[in-house]
């Protein structure tokens, strides 16, 4: 974990900002930049690039909020990080604890 802050400044920033704002039950951040090497967002193909992220987050903060509103909450929080030239792509999966439970029970059936 200690390496995160040094080599992955954006990753660490996302992690701390999201945790502080949403107090998530579960938070997964995946840096997918490597998969997009050579693509417009990561043209240099730098293996340490921080351009493409996937965030999966379960939080009570999303309770009774439509998806568009949940995404906006995250976008607002990460406004600076989403400016052109920084994070190029951010995939979001934002669920409430009860939605996540439902999904998990479906999977086990």
């Amino acid at each position: 974990m200690a390496n995160n802050a040094v080599g992955r400044p954006l990753f660490s920033l996302l992690d701390s900002k999201l945790r502080a704002a949403f107090n998530p039950v579960n938070l997964t951040i995946v840096n997918e930049s490597r998969m997009h090497a050579g693509h417009s967002g990561n043209p240099s193909g730098d293996p340490d690039a921080e351009t493409h992220f996937r965030v999966e987050m379960i939080s009570e903060a999303f309770e009774k909020k439509p998806l568009v509103q949940r995404h906006r909450q995250v976008y607002d929080l990460l406004k600076e990080e989403l400016e052109p030239g920084k994070i190029h792509a951010l995939a979001l999966k934002l669920k409430t604890p009860s939605e996540a439970e439902k999904e998990a029970s479906k999977r086990t059936l």
């Binding site: 998806l67 568009v68 999966k93």
Partner: protein, 175 residues
Amino acid sequence: MLSFSRAVSRHLRVDNTKTSSLTGFSFAPARWIQGATSSTTDTEAGEADTHDDFKPRYKKEDEIPTIHQLIEEDVKGNPVMVYMKGVPDAPMCGFSRAVVQILKAYEVPFSSRNVLQDEELRQGVKSYSKWPTIPQVYVNGEFIGGCDILVNMSKTGELEPILEEAKKAQSKRVG
């Protein structure tokens, strides 16, 4: 000059999974095409009109419609409107590709614009919806979301009734 470059660079594509010939719009003379509707908005200057009401609304370069006005025409004039990277047959981004695939799976005709061809449009779309990412999908004038939301709504079954409404709106226009 701005109005001219806008006119040549913006294509509205209409993709109809049932009547693919409609994609021929992309080869139509380049201008601000209102594909799914019969109306076109004429922004060219100097047309002789007899009454003020029929005069072009935008005559001078500084009076051409703002990008937000053009986007509003798009989303209100097309039951399903997609702003994407690339074109439906050749998306330039995985998220745009996913959106196209979903809409095609529901066999709903949609119109699209390629934001990669037009930086002003790319930024305008983001500020119009206050949504920082592309693709963006509008149904019956309402912003629905981007790729993740469409995928989710497709899974939960929320998407189908919304797209059915759009199909109804489309058939009304045609009929």
